[in-house]
């Protein structure tokens, strides 16, 4: 007989150990799946690790893929921390990319790079924040379920992106040559507008990655040091308690939604400035990468803590890098999503062990917390 009872106290070490055990269990389950589908788990894991983290070339790609995931992970973490389930980082990232590309195209190549970067970041963040505020306003004033509105807006943002490049004569669309008129694509950034990279131990680190670290630090300060962050935590724990103590929950919902959107929008700006340099509306472009949805995985695995989100972002970026690298007949790309899902399931299930004690035996001692 297995009995589960609530822990009176949650030992601090347990909250650190359990996630690692959960991830280990996930890889154990995955090994069984790999064996069942005729793969050698040891060799597969070895290849995954090498492709993601062995050598400076692998690290460069991992950092590249991790950058948008850190942004979207932080975006989800900010909102989820307050029990505000913004799953619209996907669409907010598209809008950020659209606005940042727009800023760069409008400015043209003749301005200082600092000004271009600043304009792209401000426009990307502001545009995405406004997009997120659609759902935020509806949530704050009409109590509309934000999960569904943010998700629906993701599809709308994706269609807007497609429309701008494929079905309209927007300023984003390149109509300068015969080729681009028949195969639509966006106006490309000029090389003088590309965001800089720094090389650290042979690994080329993009400006966006450094910006993501900056955002993580800023959010940590916000959560830890400020009254705003404290009130966010209270509202997340109990909306009623927050309202009775005079906190303005409605204002907080709007602010958190805007911050969350802005962070996702910076991710979009970094995609344009750092990596793609065009607004890619094709199915293989921004819309195929699902950075926003993977960001939710990253945020949940990092337990909405900015530094943990950063580390998990790098790990998941590595996993995706390895998935792309190994992609082929013996390693279908869908397997990466399956691994992420299993890790997430194990971590979510493992939380039980933090809050509860599992006893083997017929009669558990009746020491139960009354609430």
């Amino acid at each position: 007989m297995i009995a589960v009872e609530r822990r009176l106290t949650q030992p601090r070490w347990l909250t650190y150990v359990i996630p690692f055990v959960s991830v280990a269990v996930a890889f154990g389950i995955m090994a069984v799946v790999l064996l069942a589908t005729g793969h050698d788990p040891g060799r597969t894991y070895r290849r995954l690790f090498d492709a993601a983290f062995h050598g400076s070339a692998a690290w460069t790609d991992t950092v590249t893929l991790a950058t948008p995931l850190i942004f979207t992970g932080l975006a989800a973490a900010v909102a989820f921390r307050m029990q505000l389930f913004n799953i619209g980082a996907e669409g907010q990232l598209y809008i950020g990319a659209i606005c940042a590309a727009g800023a760069a195209i409008w400015l043209g190549p003749d301005h200082a790079l600092t000004l271009t970067i600043l304009a792209m970041c401000v426009c990307g963040a502001a545009g995405a924040a406004l997009w997120a505020l659609i759902a935020g306003v509806l949530r704050a004033f009409a109590r509309t379920n934000e999960i569904i509105t943010t998700l629906m807006l993701n599809y709308v943002a994706g269609l807007l992106l497609t429309y701008m490049i494929f079905d309209s004569a927007s300023p984003w669309r390149d109509v300068s040559t015969v080729q681009t008129r028949s195969f639509p694509q966006s106006v490309a950034l000029k090389p003088s507008q590309f965001w800089p990279t720094v090389t650290v131990f042979g690994v080329s680190v993009s400006f966006g990655f450094l910006l993501a670290i900056g955002v993580a630090v800023a959010l940590w300060v916000l959560f830890r040091v400020t009254r705003f962050g404290f009130e966010m935590n209270v509202i997340g724990d109990s909306q009623r308690a927050a309202r009775y103590s005079g906190m303005r929950t409605r204002r907080k919902i709007l602010a958190v939604m805007a911050i969350s959107g802005a962070v996702a929008g910076l991710g979009g700006a970094s995609q344009i400035g750092d990596f793609s340099h065009v607004l890619d509306a094709s199915p293989q472009g921004l819309q195929g990468a699902a950075y926003g949805y993977t960001g939710i995985v990253v945020a949940a695995l990092g337990r909405y803590n900015p530094f943990a989100v950063f580390l998990v972002g790098v790990l998941v970026g590595g996993l995706q890098n390895a998935g792309l690298f190994l992609q082929g007949a013996d390693f279908p790309i869908g397997l990466v999503g399956v691994i992420q899902g299993i890790i997430l399931f194990c971590v979510l299930g493992g939380e039980l062990l933090v809050r509860y004690r599992v006893r083997l035996g017929r009669r558990p001692v009746a020491a139960v917390e009354t609430s």
Partner: protein, 328 residues
């Protein structure tokens, strides 16, 4: 002839495109009535679509047997997905919202459904069988109602039967009363001797099976075939979750709502393509037409939440709250 008119065509397509949403919404409704919010509908539908198509390609025999087996395969696939979720949120008491999102990510277009579809070689394969339209009682040429109601696929008629059965089950049977008790006040239900855990498992699993069938509607009937990614289902699972909210958790209203969204998702675009009415070009672009169901979902949700949020008409009181016997 009246049956070729724009309105009849829109309504016919509304029923066709509304059916997968209806299946998924009925399933979600069962789970939510027992107090469990499953946000993994989209993922379960995608897996159902892939496995339904696989089952149909592999099944022997005539159209009828192959398609029946395919629908059962899809239902089973959805059920297995729901089982993973149920273990997490019912037995392990994990957060239902995050677990549901995790299920969609795990099963979705970049996860299991993509893996299964590619591994089983389903992409770019022509469908061996597909659901055809049945001419019920020879009434298909009846003006107006003929094509809309009496010339649809077997899945449509199955969804009607299920709507009636679920409505009766919830409102007229002892078991249905128990389900509602579990969703409203699990502690009281437990005290009455109802096994809360069992009821929740059963209804979450049934919900998964229906979501699987909903996904199979796409791969077996509407657009026979399988494509990689999440475009096959394209957000219908999320629309189904919204639909449960604005049908006030009532099956018969789900039917009406599903056809409203079906009309926007399939009816209006098809009609505009066929008839090319005289409206500004922007309103005829596929991007605008495809965004209609999503925008409409937001609009209807806002209307419902402003006037009803405070009273929460129909929402099970214990929705989303794990039940722990020791902590009631």
């Amino acid at each position: 002839m009246v049956n070729d008119s724009l309105v009849v065509e829109i309504l016919t397509q509304a029923v066709v495109y509304g059916t997968p949403i209806l299946f998924a919404a009925l399933g979600e409704l069962l789970a939510e009535r027992s107090g469990v919010l499953n946000l993994g509908v989209e993922g379960m539908m995608l897996v159902g679509a892939a496995m339904g198509f696989w089952g149909m390609q592999r099944a022997p025999g005539s159209d009828a047997t192959a398609l029946t087996l395919a629908v059962l395969t899809a239902a089973f696939a959805g059920l297995v997905m729901a089982l993973v979720f149920a273990i997490l949120v019912i037995s392990l008491r994990a957060n239902q919202i995050v677990s549901g999102l995790a299920l969609t990510i795990f099963a979705g277009g970049l996860g299991l459904s993509s893996y299964l579809g590619n591994d089983l070689g389903l992409a770019d394969v022509p469908a061996k069988h597909q659901f055809g339209d049945i001419d019920v009682f020879g009434l298909k040429d009846t003006p107006v109602v003929g094509p809309i109601l009496f010339h649809q696929s077997a899945l449509v008629y199955l969804s009607w039967a299920l709507t009636v059965l679920i409505a009766l089950y919830l409102s007229r049977t002892r078991l249905g009363l128990n389900v509602r008790a579990v969703g409203e006040n699990p502690a009281a239900a437990d005290a009455m001797g109802i096994n809360v855990t069992l009821y929740r498992y059963a209804h979450v699993l049934a919900g998964g099976a229906l979501a699987g069938i909903g996904g199979a509607c796409y791969s077996l009937a509407i657009t026979p075939g399988w494509t990689d990614g999440d475009s096959l289902v394209g957000g219908a699972g999320w629309i189904a979750i919204a639909l449960v909210i604005f049908s006030f958790w009532r099956p018969e209203l789900c039917l009406v709502g599903a056809y409203l969204f079906g009309g926007l998702a399939g009816g209006v675009p098809a009609a505009i393509q066929a008839h090319n009415p005289d409206i500004p070009a922007f309103f005829k672009t596929s991007e605008f037409l495809n965004s209609l169901p999503y925008l409409m979902t937001i609009l209807v949700l806002v209307m419902v939440s402003t006037s009803f949020a405070r009273r929460r008409i129909g929402a099970p009181a214990a929705l989303g709250v794990p039940y722990v016997r020791e902590e009631r």
